[in-house]
Symmetry: C2
Amino acid sequence: MLGNFEFCNPTKIFFGKGAVENLRYELKYYGKNVMLVYGGGSIKKNGIYDKVVEILRDCGKNITEDGGVMPNPTSDKLAEGAKIARENEIDLILAVGGGSVCDYSKAVSVSAYCGEDPWEKYYERMEDVTNPIIPVGCVLTMVGTGSEMNGGAVITNHHKKLKVGHVFGYNVFPRFSVLDPEYTFTLPVYQMKAGCYDIMSHILEQYFSGEDDNTSDYIAEGLMKSLINSSRAAVRNPRDYEARSNIMWTASLALNTLIAMGKTTDWMVHMLGQAVGAYTDATHGMTLAAVSMAYYKKILPCGRARFARFARNVWGVQDSGDEMQTALAGLAEMEKWMKEIGLVMSLKELGVKDDMIEGIADATFILDGGYKVLTRDEVIEILRLSM
Amino acid sequence: MLGNFEFCNPTKIFFGKGAVENLRYELKYYGKNVMLVYGGGSIKKNGIYDKVVEILRDCGKNITEDGGVMPNPTSDKLAEGAKIARENEIDLILAVGGGSVCDYSKAVSVSAYCGEDPWEKYYERMEDVTNPIIPVGCVLTMVGTGSEMNGGAVITNHHKKLKVGHVFGYNVFPRFSVLDPEYTFTLPVYQMKAGCYDIMSHILEQYFSGEDDNTSDYIAEGLMKSLINSSRAAVRNPRDYEARSNIMWTASLALNTLIAMGKTTDWMVHMLGQAVGAYTDATHGMTLAAVSMAYYKKILPCGRARFARFARNVWGVQDSGDEMQTALAGLAEMEKWMKEIGLVMSLKELGVKDDMIEGIADATFILDGGYKVLTRDEVIEILRLSM
């Protein structure tokens, strides 16, 4: 059954080769002062920075730069960025990068005029946005998070060893996002693989919840099949445009709220992965991959019917007549695929030490939307099995 | 491959039991003068009219009524409605009804200030909208067309025996749509069945085009599986909320542009059905059902790989090794489902006479996005096979 819901996703997507040229038309809807946000500077090597700056100049914009956004943007960086945006009377924040840069830009958007410490307001007290915000636009160079088409913004506080996501409303969604699959070609293959699993995990964590028959789960199955197919092709040839374009669009649809409509969701793998991330700064998608098999094997007995459906509809497993057996065969297929595309399957490889496990467990928020509500002991068990 | 595309769908959806209550908050974004558009008056019998009027009054709106919108809204009615909207300085057009009422409302939206005959501007010359428009909101009581979440508006001109659709831009999309599955319970079962096939046809006509691997087709497969399952349940019990809610949301997603992104599309079944509609005023979904099997059998040899994929992924047909055989088995499954849910499988039953066929063929626009571009003789052949 589809439960009651409200759906709205106003982000305008410009998709495809050369899509950045659409900025020439789109930018006219915004004022003169543009804050150009980016990460470690890879966009200066691959020409994307030059292209965007050329277009901004052609459109007569004043550019205020804010580079150096880290893979896990911090609360300190956020406070700085908010100050820059406010002091330069920014009309549009243009995020050029991956999910971290987009997340950070949305966080700056709501923080510039929040009048206090943004971490405390939005990440400790999780308050709604009541102050004025600054519009955000994105030029995406790395896929996975779906941040280009949603209101989410994850910020890490190193002082408190916390990595927390706040999902903001429609008005904080990027006004537009430029998605050019060719922009992802130069990304290191490790990042591409991690992105693929981040996408898969987004879909799985919305899919593995609820027993009802509802349209959202059928869409999720379609997205997973597309992703599995395209991730295999992209690993064989990272310059396969067909594969990279499907992965890019699937990433946006996986976390633009669509497949969560009218249903409950799980999100425990993200809670586990984010806690690992707060301790190690490991690549987000890989932290999810490392804990997934242990987590899903743990909850499978409580969600057999759905795991068996997953096996049949996503992995083409023949129904054995025994639900448990079918369900396990599906997970085995998933594990095979994860290894095939080269994901990190253990926390050790990500730098987690045995003596971190208790701390990671303490930093793991326990959610109750999935097939099983974990105890702290079970969190520790899953983390140990993932080592 | 996903070709270049632009995607934007700003319609806000309020979905579920009692969703109409959201109007109390939503209406404050619009001015005082509301044009209440509806059809033959069934909403006065089932209480929806009273509910909407109560909310409009509570919100202090002035109501201008425009009822009597016919199943295939006419160019004459459109000219009248545009005059009413203009003369009453309408701030919001509130469509309460099915696809025809939504279509008509969008057509009035762009026509009120177009300064000339709307049929000529928008349906003969297919011009873009340059004049001011009036915002539209919908309260949906009948599903199928997807009109509640897109820019399309089909208008029939009886003088010229033409039924023509114009797809307008994002600004003409409904600003919001209320989707309460219980509002569809009182619909005659014949209309429900026709709606189900209208939805299926929307998906099929976007699916049966192109040979590439792309995400949109995987989503389409998921939507079809959900629809097939839920339509069977709804025919068994029209008050099955789970089934009706899935059908309602699938209808919106089937034609909100999502599954057409980055790919070519066919739309010939709609061209044939609309021509039949211009001659008979038969229920839209049934005109599509009546011509579909003949059409798909005709084009199947030109799109074997896709028809075989359809058989496997949508109908669960085992791959026989022979592509043609697998493809035909898929169509046979579809035909079985169509009969099972009680669709009209022949044009005769819809009142088409042999001597209308030449005229219907002349009124059929031939499109070239599908697996085969039909000749006029082939159109006649398909129509005759559908009798």
